[in-house]
Symmetry: C2
Subunit: 339 residues, 2 copies
C-alpha cells in the first residue's frame, strides 16, 4: 500500500507576519506502518498563535520548527492502517501531527478520542487546548469569583469564546473586546457577554471604562499591548491579570504598557501561564466543562478553511484577526469523511 500525503513545510523563517514564501507545500508517500506504528488520515487540523513563536529560531517553552521539515500542531483523524493492537483501524485519534493530510507515527503519539461525546473537531477546541486554556486561566490563574467583572480580549477567538461563556456560567460578569462590529455583536448576541466593544478605532481605555464603569477585577489577556495598558488602568485594587498570550507582540517587539506603576499602587498581580502546565488537570477540566457541553449551555463556535493548501491562509487570518469567530480549523479531508 502506498499513500500520498501533502504536507506544509517551513521553507524559511519569517520576519514579522509569515509570507507565502515561508511555506512549502510538498508531497510525500507513506508505506505500510512498521511495528508499533499507525497511519492516520487527518480530517481536521488546528492553527494556534504559539506556532508563530515556533517559526523563529529562538529558545522558548517549545522548540522551534526545523527548516525544511513539516510543521507540527494539533490534528484529529482516524486510523487507516495499524500495526499496533492498541489503535485498530477506524479509531478516532488526536495528535500533534498536524500540517499534513496523513500522519505516520508510533501509536503512542496518538490518543484515542470519544466521538460520542462531541465531534472530533471539539478535541481541537472546546475539549482541547483552547478550552483547557480558557478554563485554567479563569479558574486557576485568575481565581475567578462570582462577583468578579472579567474583561477578555480577543473575546470571539478560540479561547475567548469559551472563556466568556465560562465567566457567565460561573456567575460573573463578562466584558469582551473584538475587532469589528460584526464580531462585537456576536459577543453579546450569541456568546452571552454582558458588554462588548471594538478594539479598533482608538481609545480602548475609554471604551473599556464605558463597558465596565465600575472597573474590572480580572483581565484575561490574549493580546497584550494597548489592551493590557487599558486593563491595568481599569483594574480595581488587588485585581489580577491572567496573561495567556500577547498575540500583538508575536511578530514585532511591542512597547509595554506606559502605566506599569498602576501595578504597585493597586497591588495588581500579573501571572503568565501556558496550557501545557495544566495538562495534568484535564480530568478536573472535563468534570467542570463536560456537563455544560452535554446540556448545550456551552457552545463551541468554529470557522473552517478547506484543504491543506489553505492552512497558511488560515494561520495568517488567525494572526491578523480576521472576521472569523471561535476556533479556526482547516479541513484536511472533505466534510463527513469517516472510517
Amino acid at each position: 500500500m502506498q499513500t500520498k500525503s501533502r504536507e506544509i513545510r517551513l521553507a524559511s523563517r519569517p520576519d514579522g507576519f509569515p509570507a507565502p514564501e515561508n511555506y512549502e507545500l510538498a508531497e510525500v508517500t507513506h508505506v505500510e506502518p512498521g511495528p508499533g506504528e499507525v497511519l492516520v488520515r487527518n480530517t481536521v487540523m488546528s492553527v494556534e498563535p504559539y506556532m508563530r513563536g515556533r517559526m523563529n529560531d529562538t529558545k522558548s517553552y517549545v522548540p522551534p520548527f526545523a527548516l525544511g521539515a513539516c510543521m507540527q500542531g494539533g490534528a484529529v483523524g482516524f486510523v487507516v492502517a495499524s500495526n499496533d493492537p492498541a489503535l485498530p483501524e477506524g479509531t478516532w485519534v488526536q495528535s500533534m501531527h498536524g500540517w499534513r493530510e496523513y500522519a505516520l507515527g508510533k501509536a503512542t503519539e496518538f490518543q484515542a478520542i470519544d466521538t460520542s461525546l462531541a465531534p472530533a473537531s471539539a478535541y481541537l477546541g472546546v475539549l482541547g487546548v483552547p478550552g483547557l486554556t480558557a478554563w485554567a486561566g479563569l479558574k486557576h490563574v485568575g481565581e475567578m469569583k462570582p462577583t468578579d467583572v472579567v474583561f477578555i480580549s480577543s473575546a470571539a477567538g478560540a479561547v475567548g469564546a469559551i472563556a466568556g461563556q465560562l465567566v457567565k456560567l460561573g456567575g460573573a460578569t463578562a466584558i469582551g473586546s473584538a475587532g469589528g462590529a460584526e464580531k462585537v455583536r456576536y459577543l453579546t448576541e450569541k456568546l452571552g457577554y454582558d458588554a462588548a466593544f471594538d478594539h479598533k478605532g482608538g481609545d480602548i481605555a475609554a471604551k473599556l471604562a464605558k463597558a465596565a464603569p465600575g472597573g474590572i477585577d480580572l483581565y484575561f489577556d490574549n493580546v497584550g499591548g494597548e489592551q493590557l495598558e487599558a486593563a491595568l488602568g481599569a483594574l480595581k485594587p488587588f485585581g489580577r491579570v491572567a496573561a495567556c498570550g500577547m498575540i500583538s507582540g508575536y511578530n514585532d517587539e511591542m512597547p509595554g504598557p506606559r502605566n506599569m506603576l498602576q501595578i504597585v499602587g493597586k497591588r495588581l498581580r500579573i501571572q503568565g501561564f501556558i496550557v501545557v502546565d495544566y495538562m495534568k488537570r484535564i480530568p478536573e477540566f472535563l468534570a467542570d466543562v463536560g456537563p455544560y457541553l452535554r446540556s448545550g449551555k456551552l457552545v463551541a463556535p468554529e470557522t473552517y478553511f478547506e484543504g491543506i493548501d489553505t492552512a497558511p491562509e488560515a494561520f495568517d487570518k488567525l494572526l491578523r484577526g480576521g472576521a472569523h469567530v471561535g476556533k479556526i480549523l482547516v479541513r484536511l479531508a472533505p466534510e463527513g469523511t469517516k472510517p
Copy 2:
C-alpha cells in the same frame, strides 16, 4: 508657652521633578496642647518616594497633599508638652507629622518608641517603613527561598540596603544595581551583595547577565523601566517580581518593558504591593529582624541632611538618585538633642 516651628508647605503642584517654587518654608506658633493633645519636638524626618505621588492631585492609595498646607511624612521626636497622661513629657514617639520642627496633635496620632532597642531614627528606616517593605517584599510577596538568586534595583537605597542583607541572611544570592561606581562598591564591600553593577552607562541586560549568568529567580523592583525589562529577560521560568516601586516613573509617564511576552512564555508572576498592607505583620517582622539588628548582623546605613530648610533638597536627591546610600533623613534638631 509659645513655640515657634518652621514647616514646609506645598505651594504648587510639580510637573516632573519638584522645583524649589513648589515648596514654601513657613513659620507657625504653637500654644499649649489642648486636652488629649501633645506637642512634639521632631528630631528627624524621613523623605520617601511615595510622597512624590501625593504632590499630584490624583486619586491613589493615599490622598494628595493639600495646596498651601504642611506636607506629611514619617518623623521621630519627643514630647515637650503633654496634655494626655498616655504620653508624658520626654516620651520618644514616631508619627506621620513630618516636614515640621514641632508637631501639635492628638496623642493618639503619635506612637511611643523604645530607644533602648535602637536609636529613634531606626524607626524611620530598618525598623520602620523601609525595613518592613524589604522584609514583606522578600518574604510574603516574593516568597524567597534559600536557593533563589535575587536581583534588587536601587540596591543601596533605604529599602534595597536592608533587602540585600535580608537576602544574604536568608541564605540566598543577592545581585544589586545602583547608580555610580562608589555605590556599587558599597554593595559588595559593605552590604554583602554577591555581585553588583552600575545601572548607568547602558546595556543593563548585559550587565545583569554577567552578574547572574544562570538567570534570576526573584526581582525586587524599586525602579521599573529598563531594569524591569532586563529582569523580565533574566528571570527563569516561574520567576517572580515583587513590584515595590517604580521611582523612574513617578515624575513622567514611562514606557513599559518591550518584552512583556516573556511573562507568558516563562509563566512569570508580577505582584505589586504597598507596605501599608503589611502593617498587621509588624510583630512577625520584628521577631524576624530584631535579632539580626541586636546581634549586629544587619546594619542600617543612613545619610543625613541638616535642617528643615534642606528637606526639599533631600527629597530631590532621593528622587534623582544621588550618591547617598541607605535611608535619607533630615535632622530637624541638632544631633544629640534629647528630652
